[in-house]
């Protein structure tokens, strides 16, 4: 574990990468959203919107 990352931040980064890799988070939004996940500010609506848009983007590509 990196020493300057809090456990929450380290975990949020992992979660962000895994979800983005599965096509459910847009790369360009990843940094912002990982910070939100780490600080517990991600709401149900945020999740819905992002997954919706990411899936739509993945489907169009």
């Amino acid at each position: 574990m990196s020493e300057d990352l809090s456990p929450a931040a380290a975990l949020a980064t992992k979660i962000g990468s895994a979800i983005a890799k599965a096509g459910m988070m847009r790369d360009e939004r990843k940094a912002d959203l990982v910070a939100k996940i780490a600080s517990g500010e991600m709401s149900a609506a945020d999740w819905k919107t992002e997954i919706d848009l990411a899936v739509e983007k993945a489907e169009q590509a």
Binding site: A12, A18, I19, K48
Partner: protein, 772 residues
């Protein structure tokens, strides 16, 4: 927070340091061992660090003194304001803690040290704690509560989407049923399904029908208006007739009354009424206003009143006649008005009929309503059948419109529900997948941290108890209870909770290892590790391994301070059994007293000190004798113990030369030989042998000639002559250097079966057995 090497810790009026005590840290040594007997000040030193680091003194907690323990932080007899704790760093910077009123303040705040402190009473706390307490200690490494909040929000999104899907599905099917029912009512056909039908029904233009509906409404209204007239006409004609009859009657009555009264009665009544009004305005006239006779003026008003009474019947008949005449006029104008209204109603009917292009379904009577409303009733009779048809058609159209609206509404709802359902069907699997990723990633993450910690604990434990640590310790977050940590160890092949099967010393070691593993996780290079007397239960064979393990990990911390009251540590250091290449500073505390506070003993190993004294240009003979005496006692003590020589039994080990020297008798003395083993560059063994007899003999001789046999070892310096002092010191130095290796200690292991050797095989002591 400073990470500078430490220079010194000064404690003033703080806890047991009642005066001022300074603990200097040796340059380049990152490990400080503090040995001291009970009550010598070890905990006070640790408290000093905790005070600076945390503004707290944990040693006082949980001792049944409740809260408000700050009043015990200063030394007895001193004041809080006297307290001063200063940690100085090698670069000259420092941090000082004092009391400002009741609260501690630190100057400068940014130089406060970070510490990891373990006290004796806490050592097994983590192991014996309930799982949730254990979690508290580990939490900072797995504190992912905020992420879990976000995970919870994702779960909520998933659940909402799932219930959205369910509700959209049920709305969709209930609206379908609704439409199917409407379809049924409208006449279902097998060719198309309800939805196709509904779409077609809703799509058909509705304008025609709604215009006809409006026109029909007007027509039915206008026809209804006409229907009211016959009754009204009859009613008003009747009223006129009644008024005319009444008029004729009152005319007759008036004529009769007038005939019975005087011919001029009517005019007289009129005249009297005028007179009465005049007399009312001018009461008590002096003359009659008509004839101007004064004689009849008196009582004139009374007279007029009486005459009028006599003519009253005429008056009443006149009034009734007038009233009946007005009634006839009123009834006549009411009929005129009705005629006007009727004309307007006819007009309404004509407009209602003309304003719409009627289809074949709507029929009209051949004639329009007659101009004369007396003929209307006949016309209405003929028109009744048409009016009935209009009303029916209007009702039919209205109902059809409502049904269409119902279909439109149901179809709209159905389609909305369908869209919602499809949206949910599209997103739900992704939300589920994302949530699963979240949960699995989190579990893997915490498990990995737990496994890392447990692995470290096992690695450390292994160093103390070989084959008992590696991969045998497991820490697990309880997945259901999250903030709860289970600890398991493998004991004789089974996984068990350690407190159930481990001995106390094993538990202590495990507790120490858990503490160290956690302390090591978080920037140890910035922290001072402090272990306050935690090794009480570890026995001789294990203590060396514990020390070895602590040596190793101490290199990772900014500094490490280990206190102990355990005597073997002191002996191991003093007699060179702690390896000097491991850069350890040894501090011995001694003779605490309330007035003097903490005191410190010299810390250089004894043999090294003797060598140093002997090497000085202007040797201090007194000091040489004092040091040599103590070392000689230790050497003779070792030999007499090793060969089980008989010495006087004593409670306190304070022997005299005369008691120990002669105990090594001639046969043994002759056989005693030490081989100092070293290795040359090729790794070949080089052995230098030294017979001990000449050394011991010469020492005995000095003692005998100077009559020192009764002297105690620590008071030899007073009894030896200067002439012998140097030689005495040299002999002791030779003897002890031969016997003790600074690195590997005394030759006390009978490993080969033919001599005693030390741990590194650098010294071999012969013989193995005392010659009989």
């Amino acid at each position: 927070m400073s990470a500078q090497p430490l220079k010194s810790l000064r404690l003033t009026a703080f806890r047991g340091s009642s005066s001022s005590f300074e603990l200097p840290f040796e340059k380049g040594r990152r490990l400080t061992l503090v040995y001291g007997e009970n009550g010598s000040g070890k905990t006070t030193i640790c408290d000093g660090f905790e005070f600076l680091a945390k503004g707290d003194v944990g040693s006082l907690a949980d001792k049944g003194m409740g809260a408000g323990l700050k009043k015990y932080w200063h030394s007895l007899g001193k004041l809080p304001g006297d307290v001063e704790v200063t940690l100085t760093h090698t670069d000259g910077s420092s941090c000082t803690g004092r009391f400002a009123g009741v609260n501690p303040v630190f100057d400068p705040e940014e130089n406060r040290p970070a510490i990891e402190l373990l006290r004796q009473k806490q050592i097994t706390a983590l192991i014996e704690a309930v799982p949730s307490k254990r979690y508290d200690a580990i939490q900072r490494f797995v504190d992912i509560a905020e992420v879990e909040k976000s995970e919870q929000a994702l779960k909520q999104a998933r659940d909402e989407m799932s219930s959205d899907l369910t509700s959209a599905q049920s709305e969709e099917s209930s609206q379908f049923e609704n439409l199917d029912d409407l379809y049924e009512v409208a006449g279902k056909s097998d060719d198309i399904d309800a939805i196709t039908w509904a779409k077609a029904a809703v799509a058909a233009p509705a304008d025609d029908q709604s215009a006809e509906l409006t026109a029909l409404g007007n027509l039915v209204g206008a026809a209804g208006g006409l229907e009211a007239y016959p009754a009204l006409v009859e009613q008003r004609n009747e009223a006129l007739k009644t008024a005319q009859t009444k008029f004729a009657e009152t005319e007759q009555v008036l004529a009769d009354v007038l005939e019975s009264a005087s011919s001029a009665a009517a005019e007289t009544v009129e005249l009297l009424k005028v007179g009465k009004d005049f007399l009312h305005a001018h009461p008590d006239p002096e003359v009659c206003p008509l004839c101007e006779s004064a004689e009849k003026a008196v009582g004139l008003a009374q007279l007029v009143e009486t005459r009028l009474g006599q003519l009253n019947a005429v008056s009443t008949a006149q009034e009734q006649h007038q009233a009946s005449k007005r009634a006839v006029q009123y009834a006549t104008s009411a009929i005129e008005e009705l005629k006007l209204n009727y004309a307007a109603s006819r007009q309404s009917y004509a407009s209602a009929k003309a304003d719409h292009e009627w289809g074949a379904t709507v029929q009209f009577p051949a004639d329009d309503p007659p101009e004369d409303f007396d003929d209307l009733a006949t016309w209405l009779d003929g028109a009744a059948v048409f009016a009935e048809a209009w009303r029916n058609r209007e009702a039919n159209l209205r109902q059809g419109d409502q049904q269409r609206q119902a279909v439109e509404k149901a179809l709209g709802r159905f389609q909305q529900a369908k869209t919602r359902k499809e949206e949910a069907e599209r997103l739900l699997p992704h939300l589920e997948a994302a949530h699963k990723i979240c949960v699995e990633t989190r579990q893997a993450f915490t498990n990995a941290i737990m496994a890392e910690i447990a692995g470290k604990v096992g690695e450390l434990y292994e160093k103390v108890h070989p084959d008992e640590g590696l991969e045998k310790i497991a820490l697990q977050l309880d997945p259901k209870k999250r903030s709860s940590v289970d600890l398991q160890a493998n004991f004789a092949g089974s996984d068990v909770p350690p407190p159930a099967y481990f001995s106390q010393s094993h538990l202590d070691t495990l507790g120490l290892c858990v503490f160290l593993a956690l302390a090591l996780r978080e920037t140890p290079s910035e922290k001072i590790l402090i272990l306050d007397d935690v090794l009480g239960s570890v026995d001789e064979p294990h203590v060396e391994r514990v020390i070895g393990m602590l040596y190793e990990i101490s290199q990772e911390f900014r500094h490490t301070i280990i206190t102990t009251h355990y005597r073997p540590w002191r002996e191991k250091f003093r007699w060179g059994r702690l390896r000097p290449d491991q850069q350890c500073q040894f501090v011995e505390l001694t003779n605490w007293a309330l007035d003097g506070g903490i005191r410190m003993k010299s810390t250089v190993p004894e043999i090294a000190r003797l060598q140093k004294l002997l090497g000085e240009e202007d040797p201090d003979l007194q000091a040489i004798c004092g040091k040599a005496g103590v070392i000689l006692e230790e050497a003779l003590d070792f030999l007499t113990l090793q060969y089980q020589c008989s010495v006087p039994r004593k409670h306190v080990a304070a022997f005299t030369l005369g008691e120990l020297l002669p105990a090594i008798k001639s046969a043994l003395r002759t056989a005693l030989k030490v081989e100092t083993v070293s290795r040359d560059d090729e790794g070949e063994e080089q052995i230098a042998a030294l017979e001990l007899k000449p050394l011991l003999d010469e020492l005995s001789q000095i003692a005998q000639t100077r009559n020192l046999m009764g002297a105690h070892f620590n008071s030899l310096s007073f009894d030896l002559l200067d002439a012998d002092a140097m030689r005495f010191g040299q002999l002791v130095e030779q003897l002890s250097s031969a016997l003790v290796c600074q690195e590997h200690g005394w030759p006390n292991r009978p490993k080969t079966g033919s001599y005693w050797q030390n741990g590194g095989d650098t010294r071999r002591l012969h013989p193995l057995q005392k010659p009989s």
